[in-house]
């Protein structure tokens, strides 16, 4: 599954705030955490990262891990410098009024598993 398909899923209520050009990325799983060094340890390449953090250091984390993109949940608005940095680094930033729990549940329902959503999609 590509990020654009996730963005176009109405129930997720996502708004693209940065990285519009990078939405063709392949999504391989997702990870939810608000602790940056926990994300560093556990998130994998191609993951969507669900978080409540909105400051610019989330962009560095996503770029270093080659994440597919960041979903900032809970209706939290990213700071302006976060968005500038995200454009610079080519990291999609999506926001939604849904909670982290709801985002995770809906992504899971789309077939995006904890590790590799693609494998799941291929089976169905």
């Amino acid at each position: 599954m590509r990020l654009i398909q996730v963005v176009q899923t109405p129930e997720l209520r996502l708004e693209v705030k940065a990285g519009q050009e990078q939405l063709d990325r392949v999504v391989k799983g997702a990870y939810a955490s608000d602790l940056l060094s926990n994300v560093m340890a556990r998130a994998n390449e191609g993951n969507i990262w669900i978080t409540l953090q909105a400051h610019q250091n989330i962009v560095a984390v996503a770029a270093l891990l080659n994440l597919a993109g960041i979903v900032i949940a809970g209706g939290i608005e990213p700071q302006e410098d976060t968005l500038l940095k995200a454009e610079e680094e080519g990291i999609p930033i999506l926001t939604t009024p849904l909670s982290s729990f709801e985002v995770a549940g809906r992504l899971y329902a789309l077939g995006i598993g904890a590790d590799d959503g693609q494998a799941k999609m291929a089976q169905s």
């Binding site: 602790l35 060094s37 926990n38 560093m40 340890a41 250091n57 560095a60 770029a63 270093l64 891990l65």
Partner: protein
């Protein structure tokens, strides 16, 4: 894997500068990618570099990061003139952190940085002295040969 020339770079890291935080680690990652090192190795090195850089930014005043790639290994050195670590054994424990409440709200201070480095490095050596500073050296060996 043979790298014709050793590669050396030094980057300065300013304490408490969250604006450029992660830049030294990004540059290290880009360099390793340019050298065509295996993605898994680049990931481990990036994690180590990021955690070391953030530790300087969060806990120290100023420091330097160095990357040296030779034919058998990647070495990352983070050196700072900060407060030093009083009890290194405790600092290595998962969950131990002296980060302030404000820093924790930003998602730092989980006490996982040093344990992450330990997991991702082949060798981690830390020299530290209270009121003088800390020197962290991370070694990751390159795959021996590709026949």
């Amino acid at each position: 894997m043979i790298i014709a020339n050793s590669y050396d770079v030094t980057l300065s890291v300013a304490g408490h500068d969250f604006v450029t935080a992660g830049e030294a680690a990004s540059q290290i990652k880009r360099t390793l990618e340019t050298l065509n090192l295996p993605p898994k190795l680049v990931r481990r090195a990036s994690i180590c570099a990021y955690e070391a850089e953030m530790n300087i930014i969060i806990h120290a005043c100023r420091g330097q990061m160095g990357l040296r790639v030779t034919e058998d290994k990647v070495a990352i050195v983070a050196h700072d003139e900060g407060p030093g670590i009083a009890n290194l054994d405790r600092a290595m424990e998962e969950g131990y952190s002296t980060a302030s409440e404000e820093i924790r709200e930003m998602g730092f201070g989980a006490g996982m940085g040093l344990p992450n480095m330990k997991k991702c490095a082949d060798k981690l050596s830390i020299k530290t002295k209270v009121n003088e500073g800390t020197r962290v050296e991370i070694i990751i060996y390159l795959p021996t040969s590709e026949g």
